[in-house]
């Protein structure tokens, strides 16, 4: 039971078609309101600027970009870390230039898990925190200059060892102190990490800047067992008015799966 309907975006790689315009036509017909871009490494998003500008001219709505790189701003290796920060700054600049709202990144992905051997990371928790705060401060300052927002995404314990829960992201963001850094929540990770996902949303409140959705099994919303009505009710209860981007794999026939999401989300968020 919510008062507002979520603005729904679909990540670009899920949509059929070779151009953003083709994808947009499909997305609109399926009931999506926007397309979330994927930001690859080596300044790939910057190199796509002509394509993005053409898409914008043709009416394609591109609110956000989600990082798609092999290393991140929390990397153990200082050179990779530096590169990730530069990549994210570039992605923030691009998304600002095309009038979007922000860029999403985790602290790291696939680098280390405390739940898998060798269990003990090569860097201490205090050093992790120092690295993350430095990265968030630098990226936050850049986002502020560009008039956009960096979304820090907590990942589940098997994908990242540093930021798994919303309260950890909130703590880092408060400590980093930039109003241009917000939390990008993801229902799939929350289902694993949060004792009560709805309560976690209420607790973080206005610090939540972006939302990604996939079900408990990483498939499209509706394919698993997440309690979607309560998820959207909690977002509505904090007055969340940002984007909800579908980032998932597709179970069953991809076309039916993709077309099924908007009516499903509107029903469970109604």
């Amino acid at each position: 039971m919510t008062a507002t309907t979520p603005r729904l975006a679909c990540q670009e790689q899920l949509l059929p078609g070779t151009t953003l315009q083709d994808k947009w036509e499909y997305a609109r017909a399926a009931g999506y309101d926007g397309i979330e871009l994927r930001g690859r490494s080596a300044f790939a998003l910057r190199d796509r600027l002509p394509e993005l500008r053409r898409a914008l001219r043709d009416g394609v709505v591109l609110p956000t970009v989600c990082v798609d790189m092999p290393h991140f701003f929390g990397a153990f290796d200082p050179d990779l870390r530096r590169d990730a920060v530069e990549q994210m700054k570039s992605q923030l600049s691009v998304i600002a230039e095309i009038g979007g709202v922000g860029a999403q990144t985790p602290a790291s992905y696939g680098m280390f898990s405390r739940r898998l051997p060798p269990f003990e990371p090569p860097r201490s928790e205090a050093e992790d925190r120092e690295v993350l705060l430095a990265g968030l401060a630098e990226l936050g300052a850049h986002a502020e200059r560009e008039g956009t927002t960096l979304f820090l995404e907590p990942l589940n314990r098997y994908e990242d060892h540093m930021v798994n829960r919303i309260d950890q992201a909130a703590d880092l963001i408060r400590a980093a102190g930039s109003p241009a850094v917000r939390i990008g929540i993801d229902s799939y990770h929350m289902n694993i990490e949060e004792a009560d996902p709805a309560a976690a949303v209420l607790a973080a409140g206005p610090l939540i800047g972006h939302v990604q959705v996939s079900d408990s099994n990483r498939f499209q919303p509706g394919a698993g067992h997440i309690d979607w009505p309560v998820f959207f009710a909690a977002l509505d209860a904090i007055g969340y008015s940002g984007w909800t981007a579908v980032e998932c794999r597709l179970s069953g026939d991809p076309d039916s799966a993709l077309r099924g999401v908007p009516p499903f989300v509107r029903k469970v968020a109604a």
């Binding site: 039971m1 008062a3 209420l202 009505p229 309560v230 009710a233 909690a234 509505d236 209860a237």
Partner: protein
């Protein structure tokens, strides 16, 4: 009139629009969720209460049908083998001393019929559960069927109703009796004053109240009454909660309790039919209960249903909201007269804030004290249903508006002064938020 002090939980900022009010109500219910059920209040009532859960389901179903289903499944997890649904299922994460009387007092583990592993009380509360189960199913029939919700809860609900029919017809007139004021849910109603006066209070030093830690003493029952409550509960406990063996010092037929049983019996008929069974026995039972209710407790002179004291053997001539609740019963033969009473000077429904819990003109009326005058949202929700059911839509709309305004103004107070509209008791009260959410989900 002094403002009610609010100790632990400050009220939320007043909600300006229906959308704001809805969001605030959702925040209350999400905030009071424990993972398997909803606390009536984080401070004053830190466990699962039986009839609270049912009223909470009526609102929770609009947020999450799944959580509403879980709410009842969790309650039924505390059901005794004899079918009784205890009035409290104690929450394991809450410290044992946080509420009195707690698990150490009730000692449910020593009663043969209680479930292992879940400490509970031994008394009951009004049977609103089948009604709440059916309404929860109706909120999302697809999700309900996928989880087999009704299949799962129907046997427990049927056993609960059977317990009331088999073990609680103490008057032999086809109605269920309550054996403790708390069983009515209207703990401190003036209707209990006379029957309670016969009860020897438990010694003042033999127990320690916890309710006054979180609420204003002026809003709560007196110490003397509390001693009597403790005595009645201890006697029941000391007879193993055996309804045939306990020499009850208190036994009353309460029209609200029985009217809610009628509503739930109709709901059980709907549930049974939905599952492909024969609803007729439940319809017949609902009809028989309605007839018994009117035959035994309707007072034509008062134009109201009265409680009957089974020990004293006479009607209790205190006019309370319990006597108005049968208005929610479909096909009530005396509805027109009861409607007149609801709109008359004793209750002034639509003219004061909520439905007063006790006769505004009665000798025991106190606008702020627990169940002795202030309006409650669950009772008002039932009277609202009755007004709609029996052709008083304008008055129903006025009552609805007063409930929404009071909830917004008081930060979901537990109860409300009918004259000033001031909030009383605790804030962020779950069934206040739940009944308001339900009203917001419909036009009238």
């Amino acid at each position: 009139m002094t403002a009610a002090p609010v100790a632990a939980d400050a009220p939320a900022a007043p909600a300006a629009t229906d959308a704001d009010l809805r969001r605030a109500a959702v925040r209350v219910l999400l905030g009071n969720w424990t993972g398997s059920s909803t606390l009536p209040s984080r401070t004053l009532y830190p466990h699962q209460w039986s009839w609270d859960s049912a009223f909470i389901m009526l609102g929770l179903r609009h947020i999450s049908p799944y959580r509403a289903q879980r709410e009842l499944e969790s309650m039924l997890g505390a059901q005794w083998a004899d079918g009784r649904l205890p009035h409290i299922a104690f929450h394991p994460a809450t410290p044992p001393g946080a509420y009195f009387p707690g698990p150490d007092f009730w000692r449910s583990a020593s009663a043969g019929s209680a479930p292992p592993g879940v400490p509970t009380s031994g008394i009951v509360q009004p049977p609103v559960h089948a009604l709440a189960a059916w309404e929860t199913h109706r909120a999302d029939p697809v999700a309900s069927r996928r989880r087999g919700f009704l299949e799962r809860v129907r046997p427990g609900l049927a056993a609960w109703h059977r317990y009331l029919a088999d073990r609680r017809d103490l008057g032999g007139r086809g109605l269920a009796a309550v054996v403790h004021p708390w069983e009515s849910g209207m703990d401190n109603s003036p209707a209990w004053d006379a029957p309670l006066a016969r009860v020897e209070p438990a010694a003042a030093g033999s127990f320690r109240r916890r309710d006054l830690d979180h609420a204003d003493v002026a809003d709560r029952p007196t110490d003397l009454d509390y001693g009597r409550y403790v005595r009645l509960a201890a006697d029941y406990r000391d007879h193993g909660y055996d309804d045939r063996a306990t020499p009850f010092g208190f036994a009353v037929e309460d029209p609200s309790f029985n009217a809610l049983l009628v509503l739930s019996e109709h709901a059980l008929a709907d549930i049974t039919a939905e599952l492909g069974g024969d609803p007729a026995p439940h319809r017949e039972r609902a009809a028989a209960l309605t007839e018994a209710l009117v035959g035994a407790l309707w007072d034509p002179g008062a134009g109201l249903f009265l409680c009957r004291d089974l020990i004293g053997g006479a009607p209790i001539r205190e006019y309370g909201v319990a006597g108005l609740v049968p208005l929610a019963v479909p096909g009530l033969p005396v509805a027109a007269d009861l409607l007149r009473t609801a709109l008359g000077e004793r209750f002034r429904v639509g003219g004061v804030h909520l439905v007063p819990s006790y006769d505004l003109t009665g000798p025991a009326f106190e606008p702020g004290r627990y169940w002795r005058g202030p309006g409650w949202f669950n009772m008002s929700w039932l009277v609202h249903l009755g007004l709609l059911r029996h052709g008083a839509p304008a008055q129903a709309a006025a009552l609805r508006a007063s409930m929404l305004a009071a909830a917004a103004r008081t930060g979901f107070a537990e109860y409300v002064d009918p004259y000033s509209g001031e909030g009383r008791g605790t804030r962020d009260f779950s069934w206040t938020a739940a009944t308001v959410l339900d009203l917001l989900s419909r036009e009238v």
